[in-house]
Structure formats: C-alpha cells, structure tokens
Subunit: 258 residues, 2 copies
Amino acid sequence: MKTLKVVKIGGNIIDNEKTLQTFIQQFAQLEGPKVLVHGGGKLATQLSKAMNVEVKMVEGRRITDADTLDIITMVYGGKINKNLVALLQASNCNAVGFTGADGNSIVSVKRPVKTVDYGFVGDVTKVNIGIPSLLLNTGVTPVFCAITHDGKGQLLNTNADTITSELAIAFSEEFKVELYYCFEKSEVLEDVNDESSVIQNINSANYKTLLENGIIADGMLPKMKNCFHALHGNVSKVCIGKTEMLFNENVLYTTLTL
Amino acid sequence: MKTLKVVKIGGNIIDNEKTLQTFIQQFAQLEGPKVLVHGGGKLATQLSKAMNVEVKMVEGRRITDADTLDIITMVYGGKINKNLVALLQASNCNAVGFTGADGNSIVSVKRPVKTVDYGFVGDVTKVNIGIPSLLLNTGVTPVFCAITHDGKGQLLNTNADTITSELAIAFSEEFKVELYYCFEKSEVLEDVNDESSVIQNINSANYKTLLENGIIADGMLPKMKNCFHALHGNVSKVCIGKTEMLFNENVLYTTLTL
C-alpha cells in the first residue's frame, strides 16, 4: 500500500498571504500522493460583515442560514479553494478543487434540530473516494474545502476537522494514511507557557491521564475525538502540530496512536 | 471516436431557479459524454453592488480589478459552479466543477494593456484536456466556469463563449465534438419579429450574405466568430438556439458548418 498524506490547514495559514505562499511551495514538494483540506479563516466573517449578513454563533459554532451558506460556498468553495489550486499549479503541483458535491465525494445529512437549529450544516454519512483516488493515482492532488452535499441538490456547511478525519478513514481502504492537523502553534503542551514541552506521544492509555490532569481540555477535546475516530477507522498515524512538522524533522509535534 | 456534447448556458438559465432546475434534470439525462460550461448571469453584478464594488464596463465588457476578480471567483467558481454540481448529483449525473486552474485545464495570459486596461482578464493560450478527459471516460461530467489561470498563481476572468470554443477544439483530439450555445430565444432569425423564421443552416458561403444584409450584426458577431473558430479547429458541429434544442427534436435551431 502506498502512503497517502492527508493534511488539514486552518485559518491562520489562509489569512496570511506570505505564510500561505510559503506553505504551498513546501507542500507542493512533499513526495508521494497527498490531499489538502482547508478551513475558512476570517474571510467568511469579513464577507458577512461587508454584506450585512449577521454572524450567529452558538457555543463557538456558526449558525448557517441560507445567506451564510451562500457566503461559505463563495468563500470556501470559490475564493480560497480556487486560489489554493492556482498557487499549487504555480508550484508544479497539479491539483483539483473539491467540495463534497464534486465527484459525489462527501455525502451528508442536514443536522436534525434538537435544542439548536444549526441551519444548513451537514453531518457526514458517506465518503466516496472513487474520483479523488482516480486523480491521486495520476499524480493529482485533491484540495477539499469544508462543504458537503445531501445528494438532493443541497450544499451543506461541514466542520473541516471532521471532513479531514472522514476522508482519511475512507482513503485507508486504498492507502496507508497519515493524517496531519496543522496549527499555528504547538497545541499539546505539558506546560502551556513552554513551547518546547510538546507531548510527543499520546495513546489511549496516557490520554486518560492527560484528560484527568486538565492538560487536554476545552477546544482540544473535539479535535482529539476526531483523531481517535480516525485511528479507530484504520488511519495509520495522526499528527498534531505546527505546520513545519511536515517539512522539518527537527520540529516537535504530537503523534497519536491507539 | 465517441461523440462529446459541449454545452454552454448563459445567465438567463442561471438567474431563474425553476428554469435552471428543469434544465439540469434534462441535461443530466443526455446520453453519452458531456461537458457543461456556464456564464455568470446577474449574480456577480448583484454581489458587486452589495459589497459596494463599482461595476466598470467598457463596450459591454467588464473591467476586472482585484475586488471584481474576487467576486467573480466567489460567484462563478463558488456559488454557481458548486450549486450546479450539487443539482447534477441530485439528478444522478456525477459531476466535478472546474476552473481553468483545476487540473491545469485552461491556461491564459493576462490581456496586454492597449487602449483599455481590462485588468485581470485572461486570453486563452493552452487547453490541457488530460484530467477532464480522464473523468469523462469514467462517466463524470466536467462543469466549467469562466475562470482561467496564468500558471503563475493568478486566476483570470475569461469570456465564457471563448472558453467553450477552446475546450471544444481541444476535446476534438479525442472526441467527435458537438458544440451547443444555448440561449433564451432563437438568436438567428430571418425576421427579428418572427420566432419561427430561424435560419437553420449557416455556412461560409451564406454567412457572407447574412452579414451584408445585416441579419447577423452587433452582439452576434463575436459569437459567430467563436463558432467558426471552433469549426476551423475540427469541432464537428456547432449549434445555436434555444436550450430546448438539446432535448426536443421539434425545436428549430441554427447549425453552422464550414
């Protein structure tokens, strides 16, 4: 089985033109098949403000009404995704942009309304890797934004970390998958004030202790859940760290295993 | 050689939700390999107004400054393209959205400044059908919006009719290509007040007469130029007419030949 790198980048890389260009040049040179997944950064919020569309957040999550879905489709699927593809081409990395609708690659269901109506938000139900795999096997890099579809004509806003782990799991049928969640700073530290105190290995055993000691808490919890979900889905290796972990072997980062 | 239909739709279809849904359902059922190319309609102008970006037109052509390019990338490459792909999926037509950057499929050069600076507008220099062909041969329909790239990381706004004819010519290396320019009304009439007076055949010989008589004039001239350009590039057949020409054999339309 060939090794496939699935790399998720967040807003911190996308929002800064220089950081983005450097990242793309380095990412383009990574050897072997690779998939890029990107979040949205501040651009969607900026466009909402420019268009006088109210940004509604509940517990840190964006409520996606019809106008907001349009904005997300325009910003994630249009501006960010297409510029990433053009930049990759400029670095001699042949790429094709994807939403979950393209190639019917990620199907989701509109989240049922319980206490909160999240609007046009999708929970992934099925990943079809047929078309992305076909492209990977001809040397093309698929670039995914965080939009899925319900198979009935409706696009749906979907969490980028979730899409990444679901893609990684689905690709594990055909590849030995390494999953990389890239952040601006090292995220999993023994001492939050000491960037060098990176916890390099997390497994099911010491994870419990890290939770009990409060070292992993708050925003890291859903991320960790995605990581372990991926590992349980046969992803060979999940890494969390600064983007540099992909290109520089001296950078410390966290590797999760079961 | 297999027959490939390359179909261009304009704003009149995209701007009306009902018309669009009917079209997509019928288009999805067209047999054999097919490519869809779409223009932008009124949405780009609407978004420009909402964002207070000035719409500058010179001789009916949009001047594309950096803000306008962003809007076009968001509207054509994001909102319209991704919704078309989702609608096609809902009609069991597997589709993948493309700009010219995706798969490095359409390379262009920024139009040199002569009397007018059109800004980020591209003139097509090379079409690479490798990736779209690969998809066509697995039953996938590529959906192109009117955006190209210069290979150096820059997206460029490009005329949709031109993209369509250039794609049709490039695909003629591998397919017997039929090119369809779809309009709201029959465009080429003996008598402009009589919808039934469709000129059904135009060739190099009678084209001259139609020009001299003023039956083909103004906005039809660049369209005709694209059509003959395609025919000279080995496209087997070029048709102009109402969208229904694709689905209803009783509808009159214009076929161009050399």
